[in-house]
Symmetry: D2
């Protein structure tokens, strides 16, 4: 299973980007892929082809609006089929035996 | 104000890394800097020198254990002093007029 | 056209990774996509589907060997069909009117 | 020794960014730190404090011009004092026994 975090921004639309981000988030939300929005990006979980497919869909949407686009993407693949969207944080909290800011 | 997301991993310790991550998270938690742990990294908020100082502290800790370390870091600076740790997500939800998965 | 830089590493193979990197580079070199190897990653140039297709091929290769894989990827898309693999550096050198270390 | 690759862009200056990049590159070139400019970023080599110091200097320069700045940064630390700016590529070429596109 793959955890994939990405952010995607138009570079030619000035400093306020939330309307562009919203359009993409709507697409992700309707894709059916498991995800989690953070203040710095969106984390998708699934098989490689599925999560990369969602990123590709987002890019094709944003390409309609923007002349320059920047994408950052980070993948953490681990063999096996267990979800880690919740468990990675729980493990760290268990080791430290305290609640962290999440 | 700066939002800084980073992840830091030893490359020479096998596939299970949560004990190394925990040590760093403990350091961050005690640093007093505002932060948020996600499944893919940790987001710090503050002035440049403060958040970079915390990352430097984490690196010096991990350097004691590991012969090879990989760090990924992304900064989103915006002029002004308002916190965006919560507001970035709220803005997107408001535009879409629905709750997203966070 | 898209400039895409990426790096891909197994997390469970110790500190020396050049044999894994080599296998992937061989795949890229034979893919026919325009690329440039740097000390920190590989830069591909082409249409979105082509460059993402090469990254996917690399992932499927490495997945055969590794139980945990980390991928970092950055895209700079700009409307138009001109290659920027050489021209981005030349522009900066022209503005500064000096040769930089490349 | 640390290899650190980074890119830094104003988000509020439209699609053409080479004049901002040039100003930063001039700063790096005069810093005395070993570096290599690529089409997607700049790779610095040195001790953690030195290379992070250069990135901080670049940020403080760009902060004078821009209301929103995006920074991406990747570190590859390896214990020992050997330079890897050239040797990482040479190793891969040696394993494959062919010249790659660099």
């Amino acid at each position: 299973m793959v955890l994939l975090e990405f952010s995607m921004s138009p570079m030619d639309k000035g400093e306020s980007l939330s309307s562009y981000v919203a359009r993409i988030l709507n697409y992700i939300d309707e894709s059916g892929v498991k995800y989690k929005l953070t203040p710095m990006g969106t984390i998708l979980e699934g098989e490689w082809d599925d999560v990369i497919g969602v990123v590709t869909g987002c890019f094709k949407l944003m390409e309609q609006d923007a002349r320059r686009i920047s994408v950052n993407l980070k993948v953490d693949y681990r063999a096996g089929s267990q979800s880690r969207l919740e468990s990675k944080i729980e493990k760290v909290e268990k080791i430290l035996n305290k609640k962290l800011s999440t």
